[in-house]
């Protein structure tokens, strides 16, 4: 069997704590993405989703570091501890990132075309007429109606949705194997969001591109991905095929996220809020980290970290589903 494109093992990311020291904002995450596979990473703000994705090509902000013992492999090659030169070759070329706010991801002083041509030169050695032709091809591939005009425009001339398409074109310029998209549609209208998500699925299928999609919204992932991992307080608490996780969620946190989503069908009841918020990494609760917000918490949940339960590939870390000698493995 071919090894996964991306394999994260026991990833820990430490952030500085006010008053000194460090806390693990990402704490032992395992996650893999196969070639051409689309995986969603879901959770609330503060779950550690973005730090996980930034750790892949080591784009972490100053003061934030990857914990010893972490492993991030791309096609079997270890990236943790790799020389900066090697990481630079990975970023943009093998792994490309698309962020929530397309305005800040583009240089406001340069035309869209010149930013794409720069990537084409650096990663693929294309210049002159060849680079210009490839730029137009990319802009048209992401569904921009008038590529020649868009290439000549500075980013501020474009609408939010068009800007995000331009960012995707820029990400594709290095012909990556993996596209990491962090809340790529959160700042956009639902109609534009739907079209951008459809574009990501189309690109993934047409190019065999793998996608790691970060979102706070399970519905966004349901429209887009094959598998999903739900993160809470620095850990993955449930993972599995999207359909299985959405139809039979095992973890109370996943159930709570589903209940919080306003529905278009069924009885017109208010979405159920999840009380409170994820605590800071320096104050992760003992036992199951979700227990202070969990309506079903047992005594044991407060004391002991829960084991993985459920049948592979759909699994969760929760005491509620644990049977002695059974569910845990």
């Amino acid at each position: 069997m071919r090894s996964p494109l991306l394999e994260i093992r026991n990833l820990g990311v430490e952030v500085p704590v006010p008053g000194g020291g460090a806390a693990a904002a990402v704490d032992g995450v395992d996650l893999s993405v196969a070639h051409g596979e689309r995986v969603g990473l879901v959770g609330e703000s503060g779950a550690g989703k973005s730090l996980t994705t930034l750790a892949l090509p080591n784009l972490l902000p100053p003061g934030v570091r990857i914990r010893p013992g972490s492993s991030v492999r791309l096609d079997g090659r270890e990236l943790v501890g790799a020389p900066t030169r090697d990481l630079r070759a990975v970023r943009g070329k093998r792994v490309a990132l698309v962020f929530q706010d397309p305005t800040h991801a583009l240089n406001p002083a340069l035309t869209v075309g010149s930013q794409i041509r720069e990537v084409l030169l650096v990663h693929r050695g294309l210049r002159g007429g060849e680079a210009r032709a490839e730029t137009l091809r990319l802009l048209s591939e992401v569904g921009l109606p008038d590529p020649a005009r868009t290439a000549a425009d500075p980013p501020h001339r474009l609408s939010g949705g068009m800007r995000q398409r331009a960012c995707i074109a820029l990400a594709l310029a290095g012909e990556p194997d993996l596209l990491v998209a962090d809340e790529p549609t959160t700042a956009l209208d639902v109609t534009v969001q739907a079209r951008i998500l459809d574009l990501l699925v189309h690109l993934s299928e047409a190019r065999g591109l793998a996608l790691l999609l970060v979102s706070h919204d399970l519905a966004v992932v349901s429209r887009t991905c094959h598998r999903v991992a739900v993160m809470y307080a620095g850990r993955v608490v449930e993972k599995g095929p999207v359909k299985a996780v959405l139809e039979r969620p095992l973890h109370p946190y996943t159930r709570a996220l589903l209940a919080a989503r306003p529905r278009l069908t069924g009885p017109r009841t208010l979405p159920a809020p999840i009380a409170g918020s994820i605590p800071a990494p320096s104050a992760w609760p003992t036992g199951c980290r979700f227990h202070p917000r969990c309506p079903d918490a047992l005594d044991r949940c407060r004391r002991e970290a829960p084991p993985w339960v459920g049948l592979s590939p759909h699994r969760a870390t929760c005491w509620l589903h644990w049977e002695p000698g059974g569910g845990a493995s």
Binding site: S45, D189, L218, R263
Partner: protein, 261 residues
């Protein structure tokens, strides 16, 4: 028996901007003849994409952008005239909450002091009476007394949005207009804010105009929904009817776009 006049009655509202891309005297009509009424205690959702004119409509109602034609009446009175004569009375009729609570709050002012200022202007409560009023206001929106000592950047997005709502409530308005109050928030926090709004509407007999681009957001809290497209209302209907049988193709397109579980 004569019914009380609606708390908000918008008739033939038109707002336009100068737009030089349309020639030297070119204008862009952002709101083009909108009629919309809000009864006491009623929640209405105003839904459309960016550029549909929904924010401009709200801004015209609260007097931030000039009305070109048409009327905005509150409790039977012309709101524009009332604003000239007695701005504070006009502020008590309609208050607006913006999407970006961070931008709407002074970063150097503590939450308590910001709310205290509005209360002082509104009913003159000062000193310990003022502090009690601030605490009551914070409790009203589900925050604790200790939040009064925080600066806006020390709050989460959801808490900041609660402070924005508290500030609007300080003057005890009849109508609360909220422009995309949850679109920048996590799904779990969105549900908290929507639940808060629904509770406030019931407890205070408040009328709510909830602006959103996502139809799912308004479905569970609004009695009626108005769909706006290119400056016009293309469909206005009771919520159940609109979701069961949308008549306008644009409404159907908006419904199709909402991601489903």
């Amino acid at each position: 028996m004569t019914a009380a006049p609606p708390v908000l009655e918008i008739t033939g509202l038109r707002v336009s901007y100068s737009d030089r891309r349309r020639g030297a005297h070119g204008r862009f009509t952002a709101v083009d003849g909108v009629d919309l009424t809000l009864a006491r205690g009623e929640a209405v959702g105003l839904v459309g994409e960016s550029g549909s004119g929904k924010s401009t409509l709200a801004r015209a109602v609260v007097g931030v952008v000039p009305v070109e034609a048409g009327e905005v009446r509150a409790g039977g009175e012309d709101l524009g005239l009332l604003r000239e004569r007695d701005p504070r009375a006009a502020a008590r009729r309609v208050q607006m909450v913006f999407q970006d609570a961070q931008g709407a709050l002074d970063p150097r002012q503590r939450v308590g002091s910001a709310l205290g200022e509005v209360l002082r202007l509104h009913d003159g409560s000062v000193g310990s009476e003022g502090a009690d009023a601030v605490a009551a206001l914070l409790a009203r929106v589900g925050l604790e007394e200790s939040h009064a000592r925080r600066f806006p950047h020390q709050l989460s997005g959801g808490q900041r949005q609660r402070v924005g709502i508290a500030r609007a409530l300080a003057v005890e308005p009849d109508v609360l207009i909220l422009d995309e109050p949850v679109s920048a928030l996590d799904v779990s926090v969105q549900a908290q804010i929507l639940t808060l709004l629904d509770g406030l509407r019931r407890d205070l007999d408040l009328s709510v105009l909830l602006i959103a681009h996502d139809l799912a957001v308004v479905r569970n809290v609004c009695h009626r929904v108005a769909v706006m497209y290119r400056g016009r209302l293309v469909e206005t209907a009771p919520t159940d009817a609109l979701f069961a049988a949308p008549t306008d193709p644009y409404t159907r397109a908006l419904l199709d776009a909402v991601p489903r579980l």
